[in-house]
């Protein structure tokens, strides 16, 4: 799979953002460059959700918020058997929602091999 996820780096002060912002949170400027966002993360919190929205034909899904080494905190789906706060995971990009015309790609965090 060639899909990638990106952080948005302010071209003036270098502050990283994810998701995209219109205005830099640190210096207020408006131009950003895309920077690959991937790698090892720490799991900050998670939940096992049983009542999923329409289109998710599974009995449950794990979701979590993780912290990348660059400090960015991000939400995503988890493919983890027994999540615990503080565990190290690795990011991958996968289909997070099946669409009618096109699928949505996003972060799926999984256990390090």
């Amino acid at each position: 799979m060639d899909e990638k996820m990106y952080a948005y780096k302010c071209t003036v002060c270098g502050e990283l953002h994810h998701p995209k912002h219109c205005v830099c949170k640190k210096c207020g400027s408006r131009t950003f460059e895309q920077v690959l966002l991937e790698g090892e993360v720490t799991l900050l919190t998670y939940t096992k959700v049983y009542n999923l929205p329409e289109g998710y034909m599974k009995p449950y899904l794990y979701f979590g918020i993780v912290k990348f080494e660059n400090g960015l905190t991000v939400s995503g789906q988890l493919e983890v058997k027994n999540p615990t706060i503080g565990m190290k995971l690795i990011s991958k990009v996968g289909i997070i929602k099946e669409g009618t015309n096109s699928d949505h790609y996003g972060f799926i965090f999984e256990e390090m091999k």
């Binding site: 919190t45 939940t47 959700v49 049983y50 979701f63 939400s75 996003g106």
Partner: protein
């Protein structure tokens, strides 16, 4: 700035509307408020300058846009000004805020605010999906993340940091259900048994996880319903039937859209800032409050909000709940109406419903759940997952 008060309240029974349109539903609450205030719904005689309708879904779920304009006509309040106000689950309190501003500015003398939601006409799936549209589109919604997902993750963090237990959430839930038994407009009128939903051998199956560690009995139901208040300038209040309850303070604050970007993940910063602004405007402090309606869509929120609004220190809200401090008769009764948990949560109506309960408490009209001698009350209406919060303080004026 002119002072503003509330002279009329109305409230439908929350739950499942059996028949009728969205307009029919909000009319019921609106006419009750107008009658309560002694307003004549006749052209040239009603004295209403502005109508605000608070709703998140009328246009989407019930296919009724421009609902405020429709209401003005059907209530015979033409040519009053009219707008629909949307701020997710905080639409109600936002509409009251705007009504306040309209009168305080001098532009209006009397403003009718009606909040309503009719969500049970669609399936549970569609309802959940619709509510999730207020989440961040790429960072949350596209992942299948819903409000319960965010609440589950928040709950786990708070449990980890402060030692809150699942049983604490159940204690709050049972309290709210008990309060609702005395509220004729509440959606739910059964009380869960604490032991049965926490310690019984089958508790895990009877009270299953919705989004761990949140269980079924810590999450509010999906409800239809409407509530209304009539605001007026305090200096023009004598022409209405009842003495006004004063809106003494209003505060509002926003926070990051994506929950993952919050600075302190266990804080509800917007709640804290909104409450602080409201206290400041009212010239009051947390200890001056006699009663509060705190937005408890998930029972964890009542606990954390009770801390962020200054009733208890951070990390001690659940201990106060365990000790009964938030029950009627306790130090600071919270959610005497039954809260969103047992009274119900029609999104657009909730903010107005909370204020109606505070008005009833301050007027001494809350039979069966009355807080004796209540003189000041706080309502906190939580929009999104805490990225837009409105706090309202009401006070009873001296005779």
């Amino acid at each position: 700035m002119r002072e503003v008060g509330i002279v009329g309240v109305g409230h439908t029974k929350f739950g499942k509307m059996s028949g009728g349109t969205f307009t029919d539903m909000i009319c019921m609450a609106a006419t009750e408020a107008l009658d309560d205030a002694g307003v004549k719904t006749l052209s040239g005689q009603h004295g209403i300058d502005q109508v605000f309708v608070a709703t998140m879904g009328a246009g989407i779920l019930n296919k009724q846009s421009g609902i405020a304009s429709a209401l003005v006509d059907t209530l015979n309040l033409r040519p009053a000004m009219a707008e629909t106000i949307e701020n997710g689950p905080a639409s109600g309190a936002s509409a009251i805020k705007l009504g306040y501003m309209a009168i305080a500015s001098g532009i209006c003398d009397a403003v009718l605010v009606v909040g309503g939601e009719m969500m049970r006409v669609v399936s549970g799936w569609e309802g959940t999906d619709f509510v999730a549209t207020m989440l961040h589109p790429e960072a949350e919604y596209d992942y299948g993340i819903t409000l319960p997902t965010l609440a589950g993750m928040f709950t786990r963090l708070c449990m980890e940091k402060y030692g809150i237990t699942e049983k604490d959430l159940a204690i709050v839930s049972v309290k709210n259900h008990e309060n609702a038994l005395h509220n004729p407009v509440a959606h739910l009128n059964t009380v869960p048994d604490l032991y049965s939903i926490t310690e019984d051998e089958d508790a895990g199956i009877i009270n299953p996880y919705v989004a761990s560690p949140l269980r079924l009995y810590s999450v509010c139901p999906v409800s239809d319903g409407a509530a209304a208040v009539l605001l007026c300038a305090m200096d023009k209040a004598e022409k209405f039937a009842k003495r006004p309850v004063k809106i003494a303070g209003i505060g509002q604050a926003t926070d990051t859209h994506a929950v993952a970007e919050r600075e302190v993940p266990t804080d509800l910063l917007a709640v804290r800032l909104a409450a602080q602004k409201a206290y400041e405007m009212a010239g009051l402090k947390p200890e001056d409050m006699d009663v509060a309606e705190l937005h408890d869509a998930f029972q964890i929120l009542e606990i954390v909000e009770s801390e962020e609004v200054g009733f208890f220190k951070r990390g001690e809200g659940h201990i106060a709940a365990r000790n009964g401090d938030t029950k009627i008769g306790g130090k600071i009764p919270i959610n005497t109406s039954g809260g969103l948990k047992a009274k119900g949560h029609p999104l657009g109506a909730t903010g107005v419903s909370q204020v109606v309960e505070i008005v009833r408490q301050l007027r001494g009209e809350a039979a069966g759940r009355q807080v004796e001698g209540a003189k000041a009350g706080l309502a906190v209406n939580f929009g999104g997952f805490g990225n837009n919060v409105v706090a309202t303080i009401l006070t009873k004026e001296e005779e």
